[in-house]
Symmetry: C2
Subunit: 739 residues, 2 copies
């Protein structure tokens, strides 16, 4: 499937498969030299060719390629055997001699594994930045610049990416990144409907419409279930189904004790699940801590903001309104960073055995933090400020204590009766989060790093030039141009500059991008009835997002080594969770803000607690029932690639079974022939003679059970006996009837 024959993209990159950046800044010469030798020898042992070039001032670049065809073939074959044993592949792989990587990503993945897998499993066991390899700074493949440019150009001209485009991404960056782009693409395509529908609602009905809320919830369910199917389809198309079963051990895993496995005879470190579970209980205080720490900051800033914008009436008001925003922008990221580092420590302490489990657990923790920072402000406005404003706001008088020194009380605040809730605050906030924040996010994520990188590069060049000049002043052996600082062959200069630049780039982590999309989806699921144009904004944003993310990977990050994946991982659960919570908030919003409930002050005074709760109760359970139904329906529709895969599986089975059944029937025929003759001889016997036979046997000492089976010889005799019995009984019953 999807077996595009590999092009020849490495040519541009001088056939380089991987570049290893080797740091020698801190250590002494003898040690680093020895280690370098060991590195090169290891690489040679597993069949990789190496070339060494100078990196920057404190590093070497080791270029690696799989030159020996046999080694690569063996590695590919071995990886396929492993896949087959773990059930990722259906078919036994072709023999070693004809094993060829089917795509560039497979080639790169296999080579990466050759380098990083421990020696026992047949690799070189290189672990960047860890243990004996701590001088190895990074291992990365080189960008295929022409291809990247081609893709960027293509995609800027079309609305939807084709499946082939997604295959292309997968071929370049591996399945993990491929899944992200597929998700983004599906999400974008699915947004079309709510965008159009939301726009119509905005024009015709306005905000908080029940119709829009219901459609929005339904859309969330269908989208999530559709994506699950899509994921399955893609994992079949990309042959990564079940790939999560092939787990790699985390090297940071510290076993509690070592035990010898009785059955396998291996000594392996174990860490009891119960101990880990106890440690995981720390997540509860952590979640509480996050909620309190972030909640206090957000609530305080929120209160200050309301005080200033709606109560305070003193001097400098137009400047003071920015205080809460500034406070928020300063405090929230700081606190988030602190909390994320606590989460990471907690996660390390939980001591997971596989990298995958570690990532999932960390993702969940970070999701909690993100959930609070992203949605709590809107929650506060919708469910605290709006219904309780008139009761809470007067208590904000406490802030007057800070104001009093400067202005008299009368001037400073509006009188209490004067205060009126700003009914548009919720909408403004949602617009801020779904439009402004998205644009700012795009700038922070793509534009700023790009500019920073350019500036940094220029600054580095400037430094080098300056140093060069200083040196050329003191010793005139060195040449003038910055490139000449490095002792490069003129043929390679251009290539090496590019490689050095790439080595300086940051690593790409697909998790961050997925998180961004997940949080975005949350706004849609939770609050879009407030402002039905939310999906329109996201639709536009995501068209750009897809391209800019690709740009980011190509230009601002090292090329990631192609990781396999069969799903977008824990984010899928997060989407499901957000959509569920959405069914509650949407119901609450729709009930609270339908115009009929509005009180005189704009706030919904006539809200009835029991009616609100009943609405939520019913909406949530209807949501769950619909989700169950949609899930059941979706489960029955097979995506094309899944069907294809099943057919393949079926064919394998059929071939096997036929061989056994075939052998069997040919065998049987001879058997039948033999017995046929025998029963032919017996067919003339009458029932009486047979019974006589039986009686004569009975006198012998045979087992009575065996004798039971000896009364009728062969099936023909049985048949005759049966026919006789039928005839007799029928006659009897007929006789009775006649009587």
């Amino acid at each position: 499937m999807a077996s595009t024959t590999p092009r020849d993209p490495v040519h541009n990159n001088h056939y380089v498969d991987y570049v290893i950046r080797y740091n020698f800044g801190d250590n002494d010469i003898v040690q680093t030299t020895e280690q370098l030798e060991r590195l090169l020898h290891k690489l040679f042992e597993i069949g990789l060719q190496t070339e060494v070039r100078q990196g920057d001032e404190t590093s070497l670049l080791v270029f690696v390629r799989a030159a020996r065809k046999k080694s690569l073939q063996r590695a590919v074959y071995q990886s396929r055997i492993r896949d087959w044993l773990y059930g990722v592949r259906n078919t036994e792989p072709e023999p070693e001699s004809s094993a060829e990587p089917q795509s560039e990503s497979e080639r790169l993945r296999v080579i990466y594994h050759m380098m990083t897998v421990p020696k026992e499993a047949g690799g070189a066991g290189i672990t960047p930045k860890h243990g004996e390899w701590k001088n190895v700074d990074s291992i990365f493949p080189l960008h295929d610049e022409e291809m990247n440019k081609q893709c960027m150009k293509d995609w800027s001209q079309k609305t939807f990416l084709s499946p082939e485009d997604l295959d292309q991404i997968r071929n370049i960056f591996g399945e993990s990144v491929g899944f992200y782009f597929s998700f983004l693409q599906s999400y974008f395509r699915f947004l079309l409907f709510p965008a159009i529908f939301g726009f119509s609602c905005w024009l015709l009905i306005g905000s908080f419409s029940i119709v829009y809320s219901v459609v929005n919830c339904l859309w969330c369910i269908v989208f999530i279930e559709y994506w699950k199917r899509q994921e399955e389809d893609l994992s079949c198309r990309w042959q990564t189904k079940g790939v999560s079963a092939v787990r790699e051990k985390r090297r940071e895993f510290r076993p509690e004790r070592e035990i010898r496995d009785e059955s396998t005879g291996e000594i392996k470190g174990v860490f009891p699940a119960t101990t880990r579970m106890c440690r995981q209980l720390l997540q509860v205080p952590f979640a509480l801590l996050s909620i309190i720490a972030l909640g206090v900051i957000i609530a305080t800033c929120f209160a200050i903001e309301i005080f200033i914008s709606e109560i305070y009436n003193g001097p400098l008001k137009s400047y003071l309104v920015f205080i809460p925003t500034i406070l928020l922008s300063a405090l929230i990221p700081t606190m988030s960073t602190v909390l994320v580092s606590v989460a990471t420590k907690l996660n390390d302490y939980e001591n997971y055995e596989s990298q995958q489990a570690y990532d999932v657990a960390l993702t969940q923790k970070i999701f909690v933090i993100n959930f609070i920072t992203s949605y709590l402000p809107v929650f506060l406005t919708a469910f605290v400020y709006v219904p309780f404003a008139s009761r809470i706001v007067p208590h904000l008088d406490i802030f007057q204590v800070t104001v009093r020194p400067f202005v008299s009380k009368e001037v400073a605040t509006k009188s209490r009766t004067e205060f009126s809730m700003d009914p548009d605050r919720l909408r403004k906030q949602v617009i801020y989060f779904t439009v402004t924040a998205q644009v700012v996010g795009f700038a922070m994520e793509t534009v700023v790093p790009f500019l920073k990188q350019r500036l940094l590069r220029q600054y580095k060049d400037y430094l080098r030039k300056k140093n060069g000049k200083v040196e050329s002043d003191s010793s005139s052996e060195e040449e003038e141009s910055p490139e000449a600082l490095f002792d490069d062959h003129p043929d390679e200069t251009k290539f090496l500059i590019r490689v050095r630049n790439e080595a300086d780039l940051s690593d790409y982590d697909v998790t961050d991008d997925l998180r961004e999309m997940c949080i975005q989806f949350g706004y849609l699921a939770l609050f879009s009835p407030v402002w039905p144009l939310v999906p329109v904004s996201f639709l536009i944003n995501n068209w750009i997002e897809l391209r800019s993310d690709f740009f980011k990977i190509c230009v601002e990050c090292k090329r990631p080594w192609p990781q396999r994946a069969e799903t977008i991982g824990p984010w899928l659960d997060s989407l499901g969770f957000l959509s569920w919570v959405g069914s509650i908030t949407t119901a609450a919003l729709a009930y609270m803000f339908s115009t009929s409930h509005e009180g005189p002050g704009g706030e919904p005074t006539t809200i009835k607690g029991w009616a609100l709760l009943l609405t939520i109760f019913f909406c949530e359970h209807i949501y769950l029932i619909v989700r169950y139904a949609v899930r059941a329906a979706m489960a029955k529709l097979e995506p094309p690639n899944v069907r294809k895969e099943k057919t393949e599986r079926y064919l394998v089975r059929k071939r096997y079974l036929e061989s056994t059944v075939g052998a069997r029937s040919s065998d049987d025929e001879t058997d039948v022939d033999e017995k046929e003759d025998q029963s032919e001889q017996l067919s003339q016997l009458t029932r009486d003679t047979l019974e006589d036979d039986a009686r004569s046997w009975a006198t012998h000492d045979t087992d009575p059970a065996e004798r039971f089976w000896m009364r009728q010889k062969g099936w023909k005799e049985s048949s005759q006996v049966g026919a006789t019995i039928i005839k007799t009984l029928k006659r009897d019953s007929n006789a009775k009837k006649q009587q």
Copy 2:
């Protein structure tokens, strides 16, 4: 695993594996005789030995055994190959010549498959009561009477069945029945805790205690999750994990059209999933119909009952109170039967492809009916009668219209002010459903059929004797005793009487028993806070239930052919659903009936709608969170057999991988040796000479990319170049520092 060597239980049964009851009552002699011949020939073809004996007046008994060892071996081997291909077995089965059934149930299952599987798949294709085999009434194995007696004796003396006892059940009746008994056993064991706790609560706190409610909900969660683990463990122990993937086609399946599969080249009937889904939508009106039909009956009887017992005061009251009970007992089963037959028709119409899918769908439909009949009465009392009695009861005056003709109004009813709700009604009802109804159920299920069967047998004998007498009057050839009516060999008389009796027994369906347990669990989950002795009653009931069910299978039913299963199927979902609903009802009951809310009339007048709903909302979501946590925790604890199975799987993989890695490293060594020599020669070269080499190559017309790789020959050279670069750069930076 669990590979108890098969005893020799067939000896008692004259080595009979299966008995086929062949009816010839309705058809003419020629046709039935022909068909019998075809049946016997088919059985012979697949390698089974047959003996024919007379059954009752209109049937023959065909005794079948797998006499030819080779045929059985082949069938066993083939079944194992199939299991292996579908992933049920980890290890490739041993060769055909050494394939032996590991247990009696495997032997019987394989033989059953030989007889029933279509000819294409290597069987005889006998389909009882269907198509060309409609004269074949049933195919059943014979009970192993000694073993059954032994088990019954053993178990009546112990409290808990051991895992070996469960293995025994599985060996006799197959995994499907084994799972039922394991479930019953686990459920019984788990009931111990709530029984003790409930008893203490009953003594110390009384009904509707919040502590008991919370503990009860928690217990439900833990039990269900524990059972899921247990199920997995058992399916590993019994080697049936993944067995649901091996599906058999339903013969009633009617494809919409036939298409030729492009890839497999087979013509197969398809029925589009979308059509089926449309048909499944009929389930919604069906569910509504059930709710309305049963709801009206139950509500009406309920209203009549309240009217008679609490308002009516006229003559004959002590007799009239039985009217609603009689009405209910008459109407509910009738209506249920009608609804079940509608459900079956609906299910047939949905046209499932596999028997499994059909059963699951039917089970779901029947669960809806059962849910209504079992729980609606209690729901009505708890959530309609208790809170709204004072408002609704006065309207029951309408029944007076029927009463008025007979008695004057004054006498007939209590005055309205006199009426007071019976606060104990709910408790009485729960006690009725959890004690009385269980006892009645036991009687109806076990005792009554047993007595009926005995009487029927005596009646049949009487009839025969009478007929015999009539005949012996008319024709003196026949003997007097009833056995003599059959032309049996004296050795076999006793055995054949037993077989004839067994052939008259009804079929056993494990679904009914599972449903009974599931409904019972529902009372515990939904209403046990009303009367904390519910688990005590169930504990006692289930000790008896387990033994009586075994008795029922052994004595009142034909021995079922051993079906495989890896779970208790859709009932697991039903349990989860009941436990979820339980979290809602328990919260509502605990809130409504905690004594503080009781109004003057005994009814809880001070119930606040919003407080009730808030309680439900929080309890339900806490329930869901706890369930999530328990599920996550349970998922990490591996049951012993699952671990064992994983180890086995791992060993298979390891053996495979080692063989490839082993081959590889031995290969490599020669490679390394070769290259080592080569690089040895080069080790004396200095960097400068190498660069010279490179420059000389550059003048040639080689590919610049290839030239890149030719600058350093072998890893040793790379290492030397690297060392030189490090040395130079270190020197430079040191020089700079000194400056």
